[in-house]
Symmetry: C3
Subunit: 349 residues, 3 copies
């Protein structure tokens, strides 16, 4: 249950730097590679000759070459040539709209003619020298929507991430949920508390004292199909919190791109964009390590939650106030799913 | 095909000493933990909030706390509290009758109101300072009844355990099978033979010569649902065998608790209770090591036997005289299974 | 979709040298062992007593003994004896026609009475002191027919084996396919080219210069059910190529026995029979190592091709001129499959 007419993050440039990458996205087996002039391309990972995965092949003069018998595949899914063969009558494979932007490769797994690059989620911090970004990729065996739920309700930090970003005060602070168009926002503000270990590290990283009370905030923004950007940070208490001037705070955006692989697995691109000391690469590495450990803690929980849901498919779960972010996000997803059905009918007609 | 209205061994106290334990028993996912005043409790391993496994949580002030969002679950399956929530209307989960006795945690996976602790299998050697016990746990991928068959026909020792407890004379000795109420007993007596390596070790462990002829016995007792206690031992020949005074023999009880996980897998709690040198912990360790190796030999055989039976489900197996122990045990199990059906009807009415 | 009334290679003698071997072939679980007088025997890997795999047993005085409870099984599938039992009335299991020849054990998984050893594929080089043979065995997760396709179209060498036996000239040389009775032959001849690394090694191994132009040939011969023998070699250019006298060439036969395990997996016995320096065991080892690496390259391609075909079962593949060898081979296989159906009907009548 994932919308296909939508932009998802497919991979990062380093994954296609030396050879094609085969990856299943929204149920489609796709090969990603750099074609002519280094432009990213994506076609089905299925050679029409014998069904070999094209991702085992290589790129020659900007053309993807099948590694089994040498069929050259165009980035439009039309075979270009094959040694000793006329390829005119060969069947084509699907090609996908794909765009490189903001340091990611974006894919539109649905109908190509509907793919408008202007619809790609805007990342205001990307390509901005005042910001730094570091992140990673996890493969997680659960429905991508469980990850959305997870990120739209940070109450879990108190429990799942008790030793890093969790603290009792999260639990105790009221959560506010609102919907703005197709954006869902959950937010929490905590005042005059002590920062947990991860944020003490970030304060020190920004040259700030880590042993004084802080104001802390978490503002989670879901946008369809499955992006969750979370403004997080701490400011020395009494300087305005979220609104405090830069010299009093350490603030970042937790970046989550959640790309379905199958109905019960997804690719989780996680990272952090920070608005302080952008040139400090050591700090970037330290934050990435810390974040990698934290997001590894979610994995066990989510995969076992998925196993439980598969074992007891008839059980209804609760939708509490803390779950409102996930609930509202799914309502928007349902609209997008319905729109997919409409697009399918239009295409068929 | 396992009776659910029955007491099974679920785990040992060390398995729940530091944190909750999630374990599937008779098809039910269950979390075991120590609740108020250290009393053992067991509820479904499924948080009614979002389906997370409660076994990933922790115990705080005697209450099980979900490790995802902090729901406190009562040992009766009723949610007790949750930060920022009123839990009155929350759905409950199943709780299970569970008893700690004889150094094991016992579970009744069926209807709780039928669970009478007086029905727990009595272990006369437990909590008795004249006896020592050591054992372990294996997860085995086969129907628990194949393990019962295995233990009620020790002919297999000659073949599966040729280098430790097996010897040709087992094969050659007649086996006697009888049913006493709901107990099935198979027995074998061998006179004036040389002891195999495991028993020579045990003789030495008891300060007895290991190079003289012995009388050897094996008395297997099945009681439902799946306990097999085996009196085993050797005595220097001519002193009365099974009835010989303590100073002439090394005797023990092989303890087997066989707890179904699914239709084709089970938890195998194996061990040995011995009636000599109970304070010799080194001897306990030596015996446990020896037994662990021996029972590891059964595993490959039983798992591949199960694979064969799944591949050829239509084939009827033989029921020879040596198989009478298993056959009679299954007859009693069939009665218990029928009783389960009756209990289900009564509960429904 | 594999013919069962056919001779397949089951294993090599070293695999049954010290104990019985359990192996699934054409969907049948079979145990192979040396019975009376060292004669190879094959029966179902299923003890009629309790369904244990007989391959966990041992051979005693030429009889296969079940390793669970000691049933002695005859090589005709009739139980011979069992300690303390009369086995007359025991059910029998299937026995299979099996022949040791040419350094391989051959199995006829179909109806035993149709198994004529004269039908075993003749290997003219086996048991011939002028030839040497070295080979190995891979388990491959794909339909055995994908491996036949692979070997009947060596175009793939250019791509899959680019660093060893592949070269651009293969791709460019026309391929010829012909059918002679039930044999399919594809051939390619390349003149006045430089030898690729594997063949330069072979030239040196035969005491020939490796830096001069050569003529190269590849003649693939499929015979049902799934044998592919490939005459391969290089001769110093201008000496007659395939017909060149022995002192000018290095030539071999690539030996491929492809034995179905299930519909989507097979046992791949690969090797090389060479007609030069037969006594040079170091050369045999060098060639085997090289070949082992090369055939390992096919595995990833074939297994991922199989995964693609399972995911898109409705897609039709292309049958180009280079695929004619595989296409014709499948036509002959279809005849054999139809013959199997006929044999089944005759047996039923």
């Amino acid at each position: 249950m994932f919308p296909k007419n939508a932009w998802y993050v497919a991979c990062t440039p380093d994954e296609i730097a030396s050879k094609p990458l085969g990856r299943q996205i929204c149920g489609e087996k796709i090969v990603f590679y750099r074609g002519a002039e280094g432009k990213v391309a994506a076609v089905e990972d299925f050679c029409p000759h014998r069904g070999a995965p094209l991702s085992l092949g290589f790129v020659r003069d900007g053309q993807l070459v099948c590694g089994y018998h040498g069929l050259e595949m165009g980035c439009d899914g039309k075979p270009v040539s094959m040694p000793g063969q006329r390829v005119r009558g060969f069947p084509c494979i699907r090609s996908f709209a794909v765009v490189e932007r903001y340091g990611f490769i974006w894919i539109w797994p649905g109908e190509k003619e509907l793919a408008d690059p202007a619809l790609i989620h805007h990342l205001e911090w990307a390509d901005n020298p005042e910001w730094a970004y570091g992140g990673g990729l996890y493969h997680i065996n659960c429905d991508y929507r469980l990850m959305i739920d997870n990120l739209m309700d940070l109450t879990h930090e108190t429990y799942v991430h008790a030793s890093s970003i969790g603290q009792k005060e999260i639990d105790e602070a009221p959560v506010n949920t609102r919907v703005e168009g197709e954006q869902v926002i959950t937010s929490r503000y905590m005042e005059n508390i002590m920062a947990p270990p991860f944020w003490r590290m970030a304060l020190r990283g920004n040259g700030l004292a880590d042993d004084v009370p802080v104001d802390r905030w978490q503002v989670c923004r879901f946008t369809p199909p499955s992006h969750v950007m979370i403004e997080v940070g701490v400011a020395h208490a009494g300087h305005g919190g979220y609104e405090a001037p830069a010299q009093h705070k350490a603030s970042s955006i937790v970046v989550d791109f959640i790309t379905p692989e199958t109905e019960t697995s997804h690719w989780y691109f996680w990272g952090m964009a920070r608005h302080f000391r952008p040139d400090d690469q050591e700090l970037t590495a330290t934050i990435r390590d810390g974040q990698g450990k934290i997001f590894g803690e979610d994995r066990e929980m989510l995969e076992l939650q998925q196993a439980n849901l598969l074992k007891y498919p008839e059980r209804r779960l609760l939708a509490l106030n803390i779950d409102a972010g996930g609930v509202q996000s799914r309502k928007i997803l349902d609209k997008w799913l319905a729109r997919d059905v409409g697009a399918g009918k239009a295409a068929a007609a």
